[in-house]
């Protein structure tokens, strides 16, 4: 992007932000837009709103401002002829982009005649359904929604989108612009063994979120390091517990992937890793056990319901005012700012807390990248066993196009995959407190570019991260076993994992 383009976009964004915050009139906004050369075919009613004043207006995805690009519609119509009447299916978790895409899919069907069925189910069921499909090579699902921790497991079951794009030029979407996908996301999420398993679709990433009012009340600066975070959490619990507020809230549900996510982050922050470069489990070494001990300390300063909470429960703790500091998913943020939220505008976010040092990826195993920001991203993969592979491929390109990804962000306020979406004036215009806010996205982009971590890429990881590790952690944290001894717990996990890795011949 040239400086001129950048200035223009910034100017548009600033004007849009001022207008949405009612700092300038509609007349002034129209003047500025005409100066910037923006035609109102795209920037019409939806963004400008009605004449009735309404603060925090929701820029719904159905608004005309977000109508589908005419060129995209034309391409869809041109390319989809042979597939009219086809039905494609996939299953996904109820992540914000999926929920928004589910609403937008009607536009795709209208243009192509291809029906799309998205089964929205809990994450563990997504894994179960995909697992059954690939084991029997059934082709029941045309696309797979794959969490980053499963990418290696399913790498052999999907079509490489880059290769397919070149192989099928007649079906290739113009302006797909693969370089527009954030490189750290592609490396951390989509690529396994040198090829793309799918297209990045969703990127929840851990940032540090804090209640500005509570921290100011207790004269605590937003923490930058793990030590500062722990100290602040303890201080707040001590001061606010009587009012029903704890220092932090955790997603420590036993046996759930959410607990495993929290655990990997504390391990990385304490200089540890999950595997060593010689592919041995290292969650039981000194650094990793030290991280787990910090987590045990944090749990004492979190609502007791934490041990029965996944990310949903953690969000509820934040939204209901039960905690003041959280190192967790950025996707929570728009919900906290939503209309009707009792904490609207009270939470702020910053780049994630850092440990003293991090183990280098070279010293970790299976492509693991220890860093301050655990990412829980996902990709859309094209099934090798699909009976409608080309129809699904058209949908996949459309769903991951610039236009749709940006509109998904506008519909839900979560982080996009594409650099252009982060810079879109419409996205910038929503960097204000209110429903579907994007005010956290500059921090998220910085975090993706500088702090992004990644779990190991190995075929057994889906099992370890959903069973052995979180179950043993649950036993430790709820006092069922190990007598509170973190080392003993991790030694037990190490024995199970090293045995399984050896048996699999990895």
């Amino acid at each position: 992007m040239s400086f001129k383009d950048h200035d223009k976009l910034t100017f548009i964004a600033d004007a849009a932000r001022d207008f949405s915050a009612r700092r300038i009139s509609k007349r002034d906004f129209l003047k500025k837009m005409s100066l910037a050369g923006v035609g109102f075919s795209a920037f019409n009613l939806g963004l400008l709103g009605s004449t009735r004043p309404s603060r925090n207006r929701s820029f719904g995805i159905g608004d005309a401002a977000y109508a589908q690009d005419a060129d995209v519609t034309k391409w869809l119509k041109d390319v989809s002829g042979p597939f009219k009447g086809t039905k494609i299916r996939y299953t996904s978790e109820a992540t914000p982009p999926t929920v928004v895409l589910d609403k937008l899919k009607g536009e795709f069907t209208e243009a192509t005649g291809i029906e799309v069925e998205i089964e929205i189910v809990p994450l563990e069921q997504v894994l179960a359904k995909a697992t059954q499909d690939v084991q029997g090579q059934l082709g029941s699902y045309d696309l797979y929604y794959l969490d980053q921790s499963w990418v290696a497991t399913f790498a052999q079951d999907t079509v490489d989108p880059i290769a397919y794009y070149k192989e099928k030029p007649d079906l290739a979407m113009p302006g797909m612009d693969w370089d527009d996908f954030s490189k750290p996301l592609v490396d951390g999420l989509a690529v396994y063994d040198g090829h793309w398993v799918g297209i990045p679709f969703d990127i929840p990433i851990m940032v540090t979120m804090y209640r500005k009012d509570i921290l100011e009340k207790h004269k605590i600066a937003p923490p930058n390091t793990v030590d500062e975070f722990v100290a602040a959490v303890k201080m707040i619990t001590e001061a606010e517990k009587a009012n029903g507020m704890y220092g932090t809230g955790l997603q420590a549900k036993s046996g759930h992937y959410s607990l495993e996510c929290d655990w990997t982050q504390v391990v990385w922050n304490n200089g540890g890793s999950i595997f060593t470069k010689d592919k041995k489990f290292s969650g039981n070494d000194e650094a990793a056990v030290g991280g787990l001990k910090i987590y045990q300390e944090l749990l004492k300063n979190a609502p007791p319901e934490s041990t029965n909470s996944t990310w949903d429960g953690q969000f509820q703790m934040m939204a209901s005012g039960q905690c003041a500091l959280v190192n967790s998913w950025d996707e929570f943020f728009p919900g906290l700012d939503a209309d009707g939220s009792k904490v609207q505008g009270l939470w702020e976010c910053k780049r994630p807390i850092r440990g003293a040092s991090y183990r280098s990826p070279g010293d970790a195993g299976f492509g693991e990248i220890p860093n301050p920001a655990h990412q829980g991203g996902s990709i859309l993969g094209l099934s090798k066993y699909s009976k409608n592979v080309d129809a699904a491929w058209i949908f996949m390109q459309w769903a991951c196009s610039k236009d749709i990804m940006t509109r998904c962000t506008l519909g839900g306020g979560f982080a996009p995959m594409r650099i252009s979406s982060f810079n879109d004036p419409r996205v910038k215009a929503k960097e204000v407190v209110g429903p579907g806010t994007t005010r956290h996205l500059p921090i998220v982009l910085e975090t993706i570019n500088n702090d992004m971590a990644s779990e190991p890429d190995m075929p057994l990881w889906a099992g370890f991260s959903n069973n052995e590790i979180p179950v043993a952690l649950g036993k430790l944290l709820t006092g069922q076993d190990y007598g509170g001894d973190a080392k003993k717990c991790m030694d037990d996990v190490a024995a199970q994992i090293d045995k399984a890795v050896a048996e699999a011949g990895l």
Binding site: E124, S254, H256, N308, N466, V471, K475, G479, Q480
Partner: protein, 312 residues
Amino acid sequence: MSSNTASLLPRETASPESKRGWLPSWLSSEHPFPWLFPAAALMVVFGIYPLLYALTLSLYKKNAATRKMVFAPDHNWTKILSDERVWNALFNTFLYTGIALVFQLVLGMLIALLLDSDRKGYGILRAMMTLPLVIPPAVTAMMFLLMLNGSFGVLSRGLIAMGLLPTGFSILGNASTAMAGVLLAEIWQWTPFMVLIMLAGLRSLPKEPFEAAAIDGASGVQAFFRLTLPMMSKVIAIAVLIRGIDLFRAFDYVKVMTDSGPGTATETLTSYAGRIYFGNADFPYASTIALLTLIIVIVVSSAFMKAFKVKL
């Protein structure tokens, strides 16, 4: 036979033949097998085939990395013996089944005795007992998950207010209380089933022995233990058998409310098999655990039927 004689035959004998004139002769009541075919086919497809498939799967060992399966008939069965989680799950399953059965049986009998009356309004009360049964178990589990939430759950709040639990205590998030929390949902939903069975049994009992006992001066308690219970023994045995088999396969409440946790505090055989199947994608081992469950159910229920002389 002359036509005159034929006209003298009773109508019932002549009529069916004339009615099924369009059906082939092998579709008569003398040839029952064709009529059994649809049900038998369904049983083969949905019962026998999956069972044989699971049995076959259990004889293989799966490589988690390559997904290749090699024939190793003793691998999974040996693994089960040394898998501590299987033994823990087995213990939890028996515990869950035992506690739930005792509560459901005792409460079911007590409530049935209370509702066994022809007085006005009791019919409505009996009808209301069926309401919990029509709620899907997953929905019941969600209801109790919310009610037992340590922060805002109405049941937890009530227990905290009574001083029985410390502030914010998470019943389902604590290894020592999670099983009780799950059992609460199970007992709430399925006690009415026991009530209905007991009521049906109570209302079919002859009145004469009770009248004779009353004339002889027997108290209500004596009549219950000397007459009602012995006369209801078969009904109770069947109710225990049906609920026992169902409870041994406990999955819904555990999955929704605790996902087998905390740790493995509420992990049952079926929930462990589910986790191995869907989490680790180790289909052979999961099938082996499922078969173990089946074997235990068959052995225990057969022994029970023999001991209590239950004939189905």
